[in-house]
Amino acid sequence: MTEQNLTLGATVALSKPHLNDLLQSLRAHGYQTHGPQVRDGALIYGPITTLDDLPQGYISHQDAGRYRLEHTGHPYYFALTPGPDTWKRYLFPRRRALFHFQHHQGTWETAPPHDPPPRYALLGVRPCELAAIQIQDQVFLRADFTDPYYRGVRENLFIIAVNCLRPGDTCFCASLETGPEAREGYDLLLTELDDVFLVSVGSEIGRQHLQPLPWEPASAFHLNQARRQLDAARQRMGRTLPDPQHLPETLLANLEHPHWDDIAQRCLSCGNCTQVCPTCFCWDVQDEITLAGDRVTRFRVWDSCLSPQLSYLAGGNARPSIRARYRQWLTHKFASWERQFGTLGCVGCGRCITWCPAGIDITVELATLRTQALHAGGV
């Protein structure tokens, strides 16, 4: 048992209640433990202390523009696929003070914010969400520029990922190879079987926290079960996205395709898709001034390419139509992103499909664009 040494990359078995010990160990080391939970009829992320806080027994019913939770009483803690919340907001909060302007002896001075970065341990990060964090790493931690706030949280992040054995109705991670199995980027990785968690060790710090717990070597039975269930999960995706590798070329060659007008007839330009997206990174800068006028805080807040204000300049709007704004959203994810960061900006989590009030399904729209472009003899 624990007299054996864990090694990096090892997979061991841990009885489910002992996950509480892991959470406790992390808190003892100064981490705030956060995980999935049900609130107001949806799965969100927030502080947790024990397994009892997790959404055990729930399943979700999701479709384009539809989301319902149902309590079936099943024994699994991690059966729920993502809701509208994202781990993104831990690293890139919706609203964050960048610095202050302080009026002092008749003139303005700048002062950096004094809040040290929080130490988060995130439990239940699904493979698509892990991929989203890695995509955002490329955005915020570029070779030529590093975002100091993002880096502060990211460097201290402890990630307990969970393999996705029950993909949702709007999921298509298998098409983008971001899931349902996590491959890298976690400290520890859980696979939830009927009676135990399989735990894979992804980092030295993960190993240190797992080592003292009463883990057992994983049996061939358990490893096989996990393998079979992951294979089955790959076949059970609610959606598929054919040929994603061809999308950059297709979209950039079809910026004036009539199908953009068709989508614009349905899109409300509400921005829900960008708010639930785990990779969207556009932000605005806003000043908040005290009533006395002596202190200004400059904030960074989430923005959206579906907002007409995003491109407002000198009395005009570069993207005045919904057609132009929707095209920006979709071509950024599936074309420009690849040119900018070398990867697509989508992980196949399906949130934008579920939470679109008009029920626009990007897998359908992309397939339509691609099929029509191919029939027209293009790329």
């Binding site: 960048l98 610095f99 302007f101 009026h103 003139t107 303005w108 700048t110 950096p112 914010p113 955005v139 915020f140 570029r142 520029f145 975002d147 100091p148 706030y149 950039l252 910026l255 004036e256 990174f281 556009c282 932000w283 605005d284 800068v285 000043d287 001034i289 006028g293 200004v296 400059r298 960074r300 923005d303 390419c305 995003l310 491109s311 407002y312 300049l313 000198a314 009395g315 570069a318 993207r319 005045p320 139509s321 057609r323 132009a324 095209r327 920006q328 071509t331 950024h332 074309a335 420009s336 040119r339 900018q340």
Partner: protein
Amino acid sequence: MHSTLATAHPETLLAPLWAEVLDVQPETPGIATLTVRLEDASARACYRFRPGQFNMLSLPGIGEAAISVSSDPDEPERIRHTVRAVGNVSRALMRLQPGDRVGLRGPFGTPWPLDHCRGQDLLIVAGGIGLAPLRPVIYHVLHHRDDFGKVIVLYGARTPKDLLYTAEYDTWRAHDIRILLTVDRADPDWTGTVGVVPMLFYRLRPDPKRTVVFSCGPEIMMRFVVHESMARRIPPERMYLSLERNMKCGQGLCGHCQFGPFFICRDGPVFRFDALAPFFNVEDL
């Protein structure tokens, strides 16, 4: 980039350095040139910009805006920005008085490729305030006139009163820079051309093998500049355009200035036209 990026605290994002306003010079109705000097001596000593780059100018409680540097790159201690009053920030910038403080981050963006234009003819085509990011090019030419062949400026504005930097034209002409002007609407004293800027091309016979086009102005003007240049067999690799979009960060982070695959603040604002060509005529991109 040759220049040093000026920011106040490396541990913060977007915190500006402070600059003192030395002068606010009215230029034309609604346009003024703001001259500033970085307060911190070491920042001032290492601040350099290249023609075509821009700074983010900041006022507490009002906001920040991207403004081209319009001054002489050989005088980096007195940084001039020609500002048009169009929004909250630009209007507030124009109300500044000498001695006031303004936040400054920069310089950002790609410059006009002057290093690659030695021995070439320069065709500078500007509309309205689009002359501002090109004025540093003209200063560079004045200092290094022998590095270039023919230098021609095509410039237009709405009315004669809206033409920028008119007091400097004689100096430019004295350095063998040919200036062709046009206005949309003449006034009784105007004896020059009336019409849009691309129309001035009909008075030129540029050598397509020697000519490099630098253009900044309304996008509709630049479309026709491209058209007229192509008609004179100037290849896309010899045309450079400076684009403008809403910008918040200046560093390719905030996403506002995206244009197709580009972040205009980082990949631009100056683009070689062959890179832009697939996207330039797409409506509302």
